[in-house]
């Protein structure tokens, strides 16, 4: 019997000890720090987690990666079709850590988004935006290469699994080097040309952007996707987005063609059409 403490206090103290012990046991049993006990995906022929399949994000990140409410669209004629759906946001911590000058630049981008957003012009979407557009993408895995093939604009990423090199030239989709860390495919991408955005709201980066992605199968039906962005020209520190990527379970799911160049020719070149002669 302890002196100077109530029964309740003793009970709470014992409970704390018990909880600490249980927690200690759990932590001891858990795998590497930061990972909960994991699902193990079936293996490919060469023994790697099998991420082959058709995947798609199911969120509003392509409208705005930060949390946002619904809003009218910029084109009156589209009515509710063109309105912005609300989104919980996929940025960890809620806000992108822009440098002060970049906050202003982002607002400028937003104001000019109908002409400045590369998506309007059917331009290649860059990384990571390609992964969360309203279109599926397909992963085809071999020993040396993991291909990521996007329905939107037929964008392609080759992830080099060995023979890692620096980007030989700048590009829209960057240069990707990949490796396996246990169950996770880690992809490091750089060599961007700075012309892509993160979403339709003008969230942006420079050509110095470096992207580290982690793809981990969390069930037979979805991947956990985490992506860290580093760009000392634009942000005050690295920041991370995360979201599930869902397996398209439609029977015989396949990506189709969204060759949008044809759809934007009037927009881009219509003003240069020769007027019909009288």
């Amino acid at each position: 019997m302890t002196r100077g403490r109530t029964v309740a206090q003793v009970f709470r103290a014992s409970a704390r000890v018990a909880a600490t012990t249980v927690l200690g046991l759990l932590l001891a049993a858990a795998p590497t720090a930061g990972q909960a006990p994991t699902y193990k995906a079936p293996r490919t022929g060469d023994g790697k987690p099998n991420l082959n399949g058709v995947w798609q994000a199911l969120n509003e990140a392509n409208w705005n990666v930060e949390g946002h409410s619904a809003a009218p669209g910029p084109l009156v004629a589209l009515g509710a079709l063109g309105a912005v759906p609300p989104g919980l946001g996929v940025v960890e911590g809620g806000q992108i850590p822009y440098q002060p000058w970049a906050v202003a630049k982002r607002l400028e981008n937003f104001a000019e988004r109908m002409t400045a957003d590369p998506e309007v012009k059917c331009y290649l979407p860059g990384v990571p935006r390609a992964n969360y557009m309203g279109h599926p993408f397909q992963i085809i895995q071999s020993q040396k290469h993991v291909m990521m093939l996007y329905q939107y604009a037929g964008a392609v990423r080759t992830v080099y699994m060995d023979d890692h090199k620096e980007a030989p030239a700048d590009s829209w989709m960057g240069w990707s080097n990949g490796r396996w860390e246990g169950e996770t495919l880690v992809v490091e991408t750089a060599g961007f040309n700075g012309q892509t955005w993160f979403d339709r709201s003008g969230n942006f980066h420079s050509e110095s952007l470096q992207v580290v992605e982690r793809y981990t199968a969390s069930s037979p039906f979805h991947l956990t996707y985490e992506v860290t962005l580093t760009d000392p020209k634009v942000f005050t520190r690295p920041w991370t987005m995360s979201m599930p990527l869902y397996r398209r379970m439609d029977r015989q799911a396949q990506i189709l063609e969204f060759r949008c160049v044809e759809f934007v020719e009037e927009l881009l070149y219509g003003h240069l059409r020769k007027p019909p002669s009288r």
Binding site: G154, P168, L256, E262, E265, K274
Partner: protein, 360 residues
Amino acid sequence: MHRRLASGILTGAAVFAAAALATAPVGGQSRPREAREVRKTWTLPRTPDGHPDLQGFWTNATFTPLERPNGITREFYSPEEAADIQRREAARLGQQADAPSTAGQWLANGPGAAPKPGTEADVHYDFSQFGLDRSQSPIARTLRTSLIVDPPDGRIPPLSAGGRQRAAARAEARKELGGRWDSAQSNELDDRCIIMGAGPPLMPQGYNSNYQIVQGRDHVMVLAEMLHDARVIPLDGRPQVSKNIRQWMGSSRGRWEGDTLVVETTNFNGKVGYRGSGENLRVIERFTRIADDTLVYRFTLDDPTTWTRPWTAEIAMAKTIGPLFEFACHEGNYGLLNTLRGARAEDKKRADEGAGRETK
């Protein structure tokens, strides 16, 4: 089967150089000695799933025209004739004044189809530049006089009644579109950066005629560098998509027949209209790797609404050095934008002069 496919194809091809041809074997041999030796010691590699490994970077750049040139009736050149033709072509391509304007022209008309010096066609590309100089690329040499192997005359079969009708309708539609610089839409598909010869079939392009093949267990991907067009070929026996779905590259289904990948593609939207074909085109491709550095690519085009009979061509693809580069054609299409601007500026100038006003 491999013998027939391989006949006339010189395996063990390295980087083609005109000088190397000086040492080409002479005499009456039908196949160079080193080719037979290579085939004897080479084993087809397999992927971890046990399938033939066709993976890597390949080019179908070739000096052989699609159709047999006029005046040639035999199926094969002798090694000396082929060496001579290629040497002359390499030399000719190296001279700017004689450079063909597009590989298409060259492929269609065979060696000797030089545009008039000083014309737009003549100055379009400098084929003596390293990246455009075909003699600098790996090429799987072949002794064939045409890529077409069937019909036996090495020529595309005649158009059927339907084909002729559509050709006439297309010519009319072309007229409606007006001159080449009247609008973006009156240009060719490659100038518009919509599609450039990714087919199928995979026909050689003027430059960067490179492909990457990557195999998963149930899918094969063929990526054409021009213009970053990836074709996904499911191997799991799934049915084809709805006939309402029509695509520029159609929709492909693949299967293994022994060591050959057979791919059937239908559901074309007909807008590419390769050699006059339309929506009903059916392409059957066969990929067979016969050496470490040679992938035989054979394709059959079947469209009774276009041609009187199917026709088949064979191209030997040579291993090339990767990687494939991103070709952001549309994103950088200043060519189309500026030629249209220039054409409208010229129109305005003509109109102003015609109205007797001074231009600014």
